[in-house]
Amino acid sequence: MEEFFHAHQAQHYLVLAALLFALGAAGVVIRRNAIIVLMSIELMLNAVNLTFLAFARFPLVQNSPMGNFQHAHAAVFFVIAVAAAEAAVGLAIIIAVFRSRTSVNVDEFDVLKL
């Protein structure tokens, strides 16, 4: 069991990221509540972060074309910042739509006009 983990260490992290992304995508598709849809998008963003970090620790080449594999950590930093901004604006949009529709059901958001 332990040899198996060490022989396939990189795959473990990357498959976990793929599963988390699939969970987030499934949440976006099967849930109607707009807040849950936003949360599922956060899950998908975190899955991508996990992929970045897994490839930073287990790169496929010896030397990075950027000179340093910690550029992946910088990329994750920017993804976290963009995700925070996206959550703030997305929740503001949900509040604005809730005010005119009194609903957070995405099936009822079928007209662009407020």
């Binding site: 473990h12 499934a26 109607r32 807040i35 899950l43 975190n46 963009v82 703030a88």
Partner: protein, 169 residues
């Protein structure tokens, strides 16, 4: 040995809490499960030797973004009937499991040729990999323009959130 046990514990926690997010009908339970999922994910980040990112994950997600979610959920104060009926039927549940199993098998098989044996390069043994000093060097030397633009992005997001949510200025 310890690394393997910790990985499986954290991975199970991430997936279990992540599944709770989309299975609970009430969004407040989903928000709390999301916090748990992000805490377990921070543990996985530590296993990947990304110490700074793990701390940022807890500070930004479990601290700031989750407060925002919980705040909005309580502000909207949805009634029972507004939540809608639970529409997670047996077919959707089986479909979710099938999607997860297919994703796991396909990604495992697809990654086989890329990592035929144990990973050739393991950067976790590098000195100072993923510490504040090393990631800070990358952030402030190699990508200083995106870093400064991020502050502008956050400023725009603050203004946009206020303008959109307030209605009448």
């Amino acid at each position: 040995m310890a690394e393997m046990i910790l990985f499986y514990v954290f991975a199970a926690g991430v997936l279990f809490a992540g599944a709770q997010v989309i299975l609970w009908r009430n969004p407040i339970y989903g928000a709390v499960s999301l916090v748990g999922s992000f805490f377990f994910l921070a543990g996985v980040y530590v296993l990947l030797a990304a110490h700074l990112i793990a701390i940022l994950q807890i500070l930004v997600y479990a601290g700031a973004v989750m407060v925002l979610f919980v705040f909005v959920i309580m502000l909207l104060n949805l009634k029972e009937e507004e939540l809608g009926e639970q529409r997670l039927t047996a077919f959707k549940f089986i479909g979710l499991l099938a999607v997860l199993a297919a994703t796991a098998i396909i990604s495992w098989k697809a990654l086989g040729p890329a990592y035929p044996g144990a990973p050739l390069h393991d950067n976790a043994h590098l000195r100072d990999f993923g510490t504040v000093r090393e990631v800070g060097k990358v952030l402030y030397l190699a990508s200083v323009l995106p870093f400064e633009l991020t502050s502008l992005l956050l400023l725009v997001a603050i203004v946009a959130a206020v303008v959109v949510a307030k209605g009448k200025i």
